[in-house]
C-alpha cells in the first residue's frame, strides 16, 4: 500500500525556518509502525532526517511526536491507526533543535523540581527485610509508576504551551507516584512545591494529556487527586 508522509523539517545549520517535506512510500504495510516509515525514509530517501528512537515498542519514551496533529509515540502507532496520509511534526512547547528533535531539558528540569525520588528517613525494618506495604497501598499509586517520561502529555497541554514554567502533567504524575506511596515520607514537601502558582492550579482539566499518554495513565485523575489532597490532606 502507498503511504504519504509529510514531515516537518528544520536544519539549524542550513535553514532559517522550518518547512515540510513529503515522501511517498510505495510498499508500506498497514501493520508498519510510523517509526518504521521514518526509518525507511532515513535509510533510503534522506539520511539527514533526524529523530530520536530506541526501544521501538513504546517503553523507552524517546520518540514522542505529533502525528496527524496529536502527540504519540511513533513506535506505538501503526499505519492502520492513522491512515495513509500521515503528517509528522515535533512536539509543541519545546525548542526544536533539528527536524523532530526538541530540547528536552526544560521538561526534565520540571520533573526534577517535584523531588521525584523516594524519601524515607525512618529507621529500616529491624529484621533487615523489606518495608511492608499492602497490595491495596501498592495499588494506590500503581498507575503513576508507569510513566516513561516521554513528554507526550506535557507537550499536549495548553497550559504548558502558554509557558513552560508550568510544571506540566508529567512532573505532577511523578509527584503523585511518591505522594501516594505509603512508604514515602515527603508528601508534605512535594505538595508544597506543586501547589505553587506554576503547579496544580494551572491545570484546567483540558484532558489532552490523558488522551495523549501512551501508557494510558489517568493523568487528569491523578492531578485531581493531588488537588484534593492539598485540601483534605488525605494521601
Amino acid at each position: 500500500m502507498q503511504v504519504t508522509l509529510k514531515i516537518f523539517r528544520y536544519h539549524p545549520e542550513v535553514d532559517k525556518t522550518f518547512h515540510y517535506e513529503t515522501y511517498v512510500i510505495e510498499n508500506a504495510q498497514e501493520t508498519d509502525r510510523v517509526l518504521d516509515l521514518l526509518e525507511y525514509v532515513k535509510g533510503y530517501y534522506d539520511g539527514t532526517l533526524a529523530f530520536r528512537r530506541s526501544c521501538a515498542h513504546g517503553v523507552c519514551g524517546s520518540d514522542a511526536m505529533r502525528i496527524n496533529g496529536q502527540n504519540m509515540l511513533a513506535c506505538k502507532v501503526l499505519v492502520r491507526d492513522v491512515g495513509t496520509h500521515i503528517t509528522v511534526e515535533p512536539i509543541l512547547g519545546l525548542k526544536v533543535i533539528k527536524d523532530l528533535i526538541t530540547d528536552m531539558e526544560p521538561f526534565f528540569e520540571n520533573y526534577k523540581k517535584v523531588l521525584p525520588w523516594f524519601i524515607n528517613n525512618s529507621p529500616l525494618p529491624e529484621d533487615g527485610r523489606e518495608r511492608r506495604q499492602s497490595p491495596e497501598e501498592r495499588a494506590r499509586f500503581d498507575d503513576t509508576t508507569k510513566c516513561i517520561l516521554c513528554a507526550c502529555c506535557t507537550t499536549s497541554c495548553p497550559s504548558f504551551w502558554a509557558s513552560d514554567d508550568y510544571l506540566g502533567p508529567a512532573a505532577l504524575v511523578a509527584a503523585h507516584r511518591f505522594i501516594f506511596d505509603s512508604r514515602d515520607e515527603a508528601a508534605a514537601e512535594r505538595l508544597k512545591i506543586i501547589s505553587e502558582t506554576s503547579g496544580l492550579a494551572r491545570c484546567h482539566t483540558a484532558f489532552n494529556c490523558t488522551l495523549a499518554c501512551p501508557r494510558e495513565i489517568q493523568i487528569t485523575k491523578a492531578i485531581a487527586e493531588l488537588k484534593l489532597a492539598t485540601i483534605t490532606g488525605r494521601v
Partner: protein, 597 residues
C-alpha cells in the same frame, strides 16, 4: 575544539548497571555518568518479567538452589565462584532496591511478591519455584526509574546524550574516554582515573530481535578496537517468545503465570522436550524446541511461528493437568482480570501491534535474539581482565550486559540479568571509587580525540556509493539465518565471508548530513561499524567452538563436549585479524552433568 572534563570515575552508560555503579561510586569519588540516551531511555527499562533472588517470600527457597539453577542454566560454562557470589548477594540487593523505593508488587502480607520463571526450581522437587521479584511486567522500568531517581537525589553528574566513541589507554592503564555531544557535535575528553563501561548489548546484529535500536555494541567494539579481548561472544540468547516478525518480547512471566506453548497441531509440545518443568524450561531449550517444531512442519499454518496461549481457560486447564497449586496448596486458577493486572503491558503490546487480545486469542510467537551472554571479560568485582590469566587492566571496569563475568555462561536464566546489573554494577562502582582514591590521573595524550575524529571524518568523506541501511539489513539477515539458533560450519563460514564483504562496502558508505548538530546519520553509521566488528567476532568465536552448549547449538556438533570445550573463548582483534584463545571455567561445587529439565 575539544572540551576537557576531569572526574575520578566516569561511568559510560546509564542503564541499570551504569546507574548502580554511579550511585555507589559517587558516594566517595567525583563521578560522572555519560549516556548516549537520556538515562530513562536505557534498555533496562524494557525488562519485563522480574529479578531473581531467593527471598523465599512465598515458599521455601535458598541462595544455594539459585546458585545451582544458574550453574545448570549456564550449561556449566558459568564461573561458579561468581555465580555463588551473585546468588548469595541477591536477597540483600533486592531488599536494598526496595529500600530505595522500588515499587515491587506485594504479597497479601505486604512482602515483595515473586513468580516462577524458567529454569528456577526447587532443587528437591525439581518443580518451578517462585523466585522472580516483580512489578507487574515492568520490573526493569521500575529498576531503571528508581535508580535514576536515586542518582538525581544524590546529585550524580550526568552528561545526557553524549556518545562515547573511544577509550583512552595510556601505558596499559586507563586515562579516560572521548565522547561527542549529540546536541552540538563537539568532542569532549573525559579525563578519569577509572572508567566503568555499562553500555549494554549488541542484539541489533540480528534481524529478529527484542533489542533496541541503540543496542549496537558500542562498548564491546571500542574495547575490541583498543586491543582488549572479548569473552564468550558465541553465546547469544534467543528468547523463545518474541512477537512474530517484530521480535518484541513476550516475557517468560507469561509462562510463569501459566501460559503454554502450542504448535500448529494444537499440541502443547514442551512436555516432549522438558517433561518436568515443561514450558518453564530454560530459554535455549525452548527456543530450540520451537525451531524443531517449525522445521518438522508443525509451525502454525506452515509459517515460522507457534502459539503462546495465556487465555484463562487454557491456563486453568493445563494447570490442573500439571497439578499446579497456590502457596496454600489449593489448585492454581486464574481469571482474565488477574492476568490483566499481572501482565498489563504484554496485553497492551499484543493489542497494539498484533490487534490480538491475549485474553481471548492466542499470540503468534517466534524466537527472538535477546541477550548477549558474552562481552568484556571481568572478574566478580567488575575489573576488566585482559588475558587467559585474568590479569586486571588498572582502572577499567565493566558491568551489565556488555560485561562477561561470567555468571551466565552459555545460557542466561531469566531474571538473572537484572540481578547481574544490580550486583556487579554496585561492586564495579565500589571498586572503581576505591581504586580512584589511591590512583593518580594518567597523563593524557596530546590529542586524545584525534583518532575518533579521523574515524568520523572517514565516514563523512567516504566515496559515497554504499547505503548504510542496506549493509545493516544484510548483516542482520545473514547473522540471524546462519549464526542464529542453529549453526553449522558451512553457514557460519558463509556469514563470516559476508561480514567481510560488508565491512569492505562499509568503507564506501554515503553520509549526506554534513552538520554537527544531532548528526544522527553519522553516528548511526559509526554504530553500524561497531555492529559489523561485533558480528565478526561473534561468528568467528562460534565457528571455532565445535560443540553445542547452551545458546550455541551446532547441527554438525550436536553434543556438549566437556572434554575439550569446558572453557571460555577469548577473542582479540589484532592487525585486522581475529585471534582466539581460551581460559578455564571456574568450577567449585557443581561438576558438570547432563542437563535435563
Amino acid at each position: 575544539m575539544t572540551k576537557l572534563h576531569q572526574f575520578d570515575v566516569v561511568v559510560v552508560g546509564a542503564g541499570g548497571a551504569g546507574l548502580m555503579a554511579a550511585l555507589y561510586a559517587s558516594r566517595t569519588a567525583k563521578t560522572a555518568v555519560i549516556s548516549k540516551l537520556y538515562p530513562t531511555r536505557s534498555h533496562t527499562g524494557t525488562a519485563q518479567g522480574g529479578i531473581g533472588a531467593a527471598l523465599g517470600n512465598l515458599e521455601e527457597d535458598h541462595p544455594e538452589w539459585h546458585t545451582y539453577d544458574t550453574v545448570k542454566g549456564s550449561d556449566y560454562l558459568g564461573d561458579q565462584d561468581a555465580i555463588e557470589f551473585m546468588c548469595y548477594e541477591a536477597p540483600q540487593a533486592i531488599i536494598e532496591l526496595e529500600h530505595m523505593g522500588l515499587p515491587f508488587d506485594r504479597t497479601p502480607d505486604g512482602r515483595i511478591s515473586q513468580r516462577p520463571f524458567g529454569g528456577h526450581t526447587n532443587n528437591v522437587t525439581g518443580k518451578p519455584v517462585r523466585r522472580a521479584c516483580h512489578a507487574a511486567d515492568r520490573t526493569g522500568h521500575m529498576i531503571l526509574q528508581t535508580l535514576y531517581q536515586q542518582c538525581l537525589k544524590n546529585q550524580v553528574t550526568f552528561f545526557d546524550e553524549f556518545q562515547v566513541l573511544d577509550l583512552i589507554l595510556v601505558n596499559g592503564r586507563t586515562a579516560g574516554v572521548v565522547a561527542v555531544e549529540l546536541a552540538t557535535g563537539e568532542f569532549h575528553t573525559f579525563h578519569a582515573k577509572a572508567v566503568i563501561f555499562a553500555t549494554g548489548g549488541h542484539g541489533r546484529i540480528f534481524e529478529v530481535t527484542s533489542n533496541a535500536y541503540s543496542y549496537t555494541g558500542d562498548g564491546a567494539a571500542i574495547v575490541l578496537r583498543r586491543g582488549l579481548p572479548l569473552e564468550d561472544m558465541e553465546f547469544f540468547q534467543f528468547h523463545p517468545t518474541g512477537i512474530y516478525k517484530l521480535g518484541i518480547l513476550i516475557t517468560e512471566g507469561v509462562r510463569g503465570e501459566g501460559g503454554v506453548l502450542i504448535n500448529g497441531l494444537g499440541e502443547r509440545f514442551m512436555s516432549k522436550y522438558a517433561p518436568t518443568v515443561k514450558d518453564l524450561a530454560s530459554r535455549d531449550v525452548i527456543s530450540r524446541a520451537i525451531y524443531t517444531e517449525i522445521r518438522e512442519g508443525r509451525g502454525v499454518n506452515g509459517q515460522n511461528y507457534v502459539w503462546l496461549d495465556v487465555r484463562p481457560e487454557s491456563v486453568n486447564q493445563y494447570a490442573a493437568m500439571d497439578g499446579r497449586t497456590n502457596p496454600d496448596g489449593s489448585p492454581y486458577t486464574v481469571t482474565g482480570e488477574q492476568i490483566l493486572t499481572k501482565l498489563p503491558d504484554i496485553i497492551d503490546f499484543c493489542r497494539v501491534y498484533l490487534g490480538v487480545d491475549p485474553l481471548t486469542e492466542m499470540m503468534p510467537v517466534q524466537p527472538t535474539a535477546h541477550y548477549t551472554m558474552g562481552g568484556i571479560p571481568t572478574n566478580k568485582y567488575g575489573e576488566v581482565v585482559i588475558d587467559e590469566k585474568n590479569t586486571v587492566l588498572p582502572g577499567l571496569y565493566a558491568a551489565g550486559e556488555c560485561a562477561c563475568v561470567s555468571v551466565h555462561g552459555a545460557n542466561r536464566l531469566g531474571t538473572n540479568s537484572l540481578l547481574d546489573l544490580v550486583v556487579f554494577g554496585k561492586h564495579a562502582g565500589l571498586k572503581a571509587a576505591e581504586f580512584a582514591k589511591h590512583a593518580d590521573f594518567e597523563a593524557l595524550p596530546a590529542h586524545p580525540e584525534e583518532e575518533v575524529r579521523a574515524q568520523l571524518e572517514a565516514l563523512r568523506n567516504g566515496s559515497g556509493r554504499e547505503n548504510a541501511f542496506e549493509i545493516g539489513r544484510e548483516m542482520r539477515k545473514v547473522m540471524f539465518e546462519e549464526v542464529g539458533i542453529y549453526r553449522n560450519e558451512r553457514g557460519m563460514r558463509f556469514a563470516i565471508e559476508k561480514i567481510h564483504e560488508l565491512k569492505e562496502r562499509y568503507k564506501h558508505i554515503r553520509v549526506r548530513d554534513t552538520g554537527r548538530i544531532f548528526n544522527t546519520e553519522l553516528l548511526n553509521a559509526w554504530e553500524l561499524g561497531n555492529l559489523l566488528d561485533v558480528a565478526e567476532v561473534v561468528a568467528e568465536s562460534a565457528l571455532n567452538r565445535t560443540e553445542s552448549r547452551g545458546g550455541h547449538s551446532r547441527e554438525d556438533y550436536p553434543d556438549r563436549d566437556d572434554q575439550n570445550w569446558l572453557k571460555h573463548t577469548l577473542i582479540w582483534k589484532r592487525n585486522g585479524h581475529t585471534e582466539i584463545s581460551y581460559k578455564p571455567v571456574v568450577i567449585t561445587k557443581y561438576p558438570p552433568k547432563e542437563r535435563v529439565y
